[in-house]
Symmetry: C2
């Protein structure tokens, strides 16, 4: 086993601290003195308050910023794809990574449009022929732990050591982001069959039933969804020794994916560095739940970008009492929801930092 990965993980878990909220009322007073009826910017005010708390706790001062912001789209393959749980063959994971590196995927376009940086992380892509003709080498980060997980309907997807390595890779991404001055980090993923892994994790961590939270992913029929739920039920049964009260990392190893484990580490690492974390959709939220089970204080740094059209996402967000910023009926992943939500966070921060107050603008406040 890679002892340094395990140490990194333990160090990180211990270094995540909850937000000190002592300045909440001072920030709220500042928001209330801006030239607008109190509370009239709704969620934007809540987001600004949250960002300001993070900024203050991080020692970055009272004016929060989200730029530079960056999305990490982590890619890996899943052995369970062999069970026919996706409309797409496994080869598409590598093909989409190639597409990312050529700038033609949705997350490329949406990050460009939003002024957000993009990094693509190979944590476990099986068919890595995409490396042949990469036009932008700084975009690709090679962190392959192994070329895809084992089929978890027969046994654990990963060993705990492999899982720890993938988590540690995510932690190191957060370290790097912090070193490079990034202030908001979005999660993204690519991995054929990874809604199956995410759903299995929800069932394990949150006690959901596969029938209730299994959805069509990239476009399964009702019958195919039933088959997928059966595969997940079998995986839960085969890996019963990895279910709670087993440690959350064992659950992640048994039922997760390499990209999900990497995102779990990314979330833990960002929480340690007190960076705003923008959790994308259905799969990213599973990585968040794993991180939250490992270290509950990650909740203090998380923003939920959007409610996915994958039906289980709403159930999970409700259970987490998490309110997504956007609700655009999207179910693509890659980080596309995070790319759309970051401009809203940017606007929230700017509002707090740049708006005039009633007193200095000479505007009468409410009677």
């Amino acid at each position: 086993m890679n002892q340094s990965a395990a140490n990194n993980l333990q160090d990180c878990i211990q270094a995540v601290t909850p937000l000190d909220r002592a300045t909440t009322s001072a920030i709220q007073a500042r928001l209330d003195d801006l030239t607008k009826p109190q509370g009239s910017l709704g969620r934007l005010e809540e987001l600004a308050l949250h960002l300001a708390l993070i900024s203050q706790n991080a020692g970055r001062g009272p004016n929060p910023k989200v730029d530079p912001s960056r999305i990490y789209t982590c890619a890996a393959d899943h052995g369970v794809a062999a069970q026919g749980v996706s409309k797409f063959p496994s080869e598409v994971t590598a093909q989409m990574v190639r597409n990312f590196l050529h700038g033609g995927a949705a997350v490329n376009v949406l990050t460009r449009s939003a002024g957000v940086e993009l990094r693509v992380v190979d944590v476990g892509v099986a068919h890595d022929d995409f490396t042949a003709d990469v036009p932008d080498s700084t975009m690709l980060l090679r962190r392959k732990v192994k070329p895809g997980t084992a089929d978890f309907s027969f046994g654990p997807a990963m060993s705990e050591e492999e899982c720890t390595e993938a988590v540690a890779a995510g932690i190191s991404l957060a370290e790097q982001a912090g070193e490079e001055g990034v202030l908001a980090v979005g999660t993204g993923e690519m991995g054929i069959a990874n809604t199956t892994a995410a759903t299995a994790l929800y069932c394990a961590y949150l006690g959901c039933s596969p029938e209730r939270v299994t959805g069509p992913g990239t476009g399964l029929s009702a019958q195919e969804v039933r088959h997928k739920a059966e595969v997940i039920a079998r995986a839960l049964s085969v890996n019963s020794n990895a279910l709670p009260p087993a440690p959350p990392l064992r659950t992640l190893a048994a039922l997760g994916g390499l990209e999900i484990a990497c995102l779990t580490g990314l979330i833990l690492g960002c929480a340690r560095r007190k960076l705003a974390i923008v959790v994308d959709g259905f799969i990213s939220t599973a990585a968040y739940v794993a991180a939250w089970k490992i270290q509950p204080h990650v909740a203090d740094y998380a923003f939920f970008a959007h409610g996915s059209a994958e039906p289980g996402h709403r159930i999970i967000l409700d259970q987490l009492q998490a309110r997504p910023i956007l609700d655009l009926g999207m179910r693509l992943g890659e980080g596309t929801g995070a790319a759309l939500a970051i401009p809203v966070l940017r606007a929230a921060a700017a509002m707090l930092n740049e708006m005039a107050s009633f007193s200095n603008a000479g505007v009468c406040s409410a009677t």
Copy 2:
């Protein structure tokens, strides 16, 4: 009467044509060939399709753009403010215009954050002392028809001539925007007591009852909301000859506001120029309803930025079968919702224009 304003309005109404939707299936096929599961970008795909139809109908080609985009924040005062229907005194309209011109209001910050241009239009501000120390003269457009409306709880807010002049001013703004290459126009407004005018218009145009759609605006108590609803009921009674089946312009004159009438013209003018119209919140939607009653084809060019926290807005949007892009619990107006929605439209257009297709990216499509 200003005959040229009336002629401009008639010309504009006649020149608005519905969208030819013959290319819908071709655009849909293009969307479906992009490297993502079909339909997985949800609303973003619908918005892209709508933008592409507008672009094609305008002769601007198959690749829609929203930039440059611009918000017109139209300001005016309301005689009905004397009835105590707002938490803020009328003077705040002018004070906020001054705030706009100094760059310190919410709409300034949010348009800057979003890369959207801003113009502030004085259509009828009563206290125009804000002109003394204006730092950015290109931001202010002087189109004052008169210094505020009459109190419509005693009679019409405006004469039909004045209303026509304000509508014509809005049409000319759209013309100017079109000449200057603007491709998406957001609506914004500032006018103390204008939720009262907007609510009265909804009651008149859509047959809503004042009790049902009157809300707290900038922050009235429940008792104050009841008073506001009574004022609106009285206005509807006093102006009964302006209710349908009276012509919609007469209704607008009796119960609207100068900024609402200007926005009505802006919407009509943008529809004529086939520009994407981004309707902001509760008051802007009332201007939209007026424009739609005058010329139903404006619906083909309209996007609804957000669902306002002003409770009546959801009722009205449902009645219009309009789905807002965002739902952030905002109720400020000024164009703040439009400023947040334009980046989503920009992302939708970029997605259609820039994403790789399955064939050219070498990605397998679904089985």
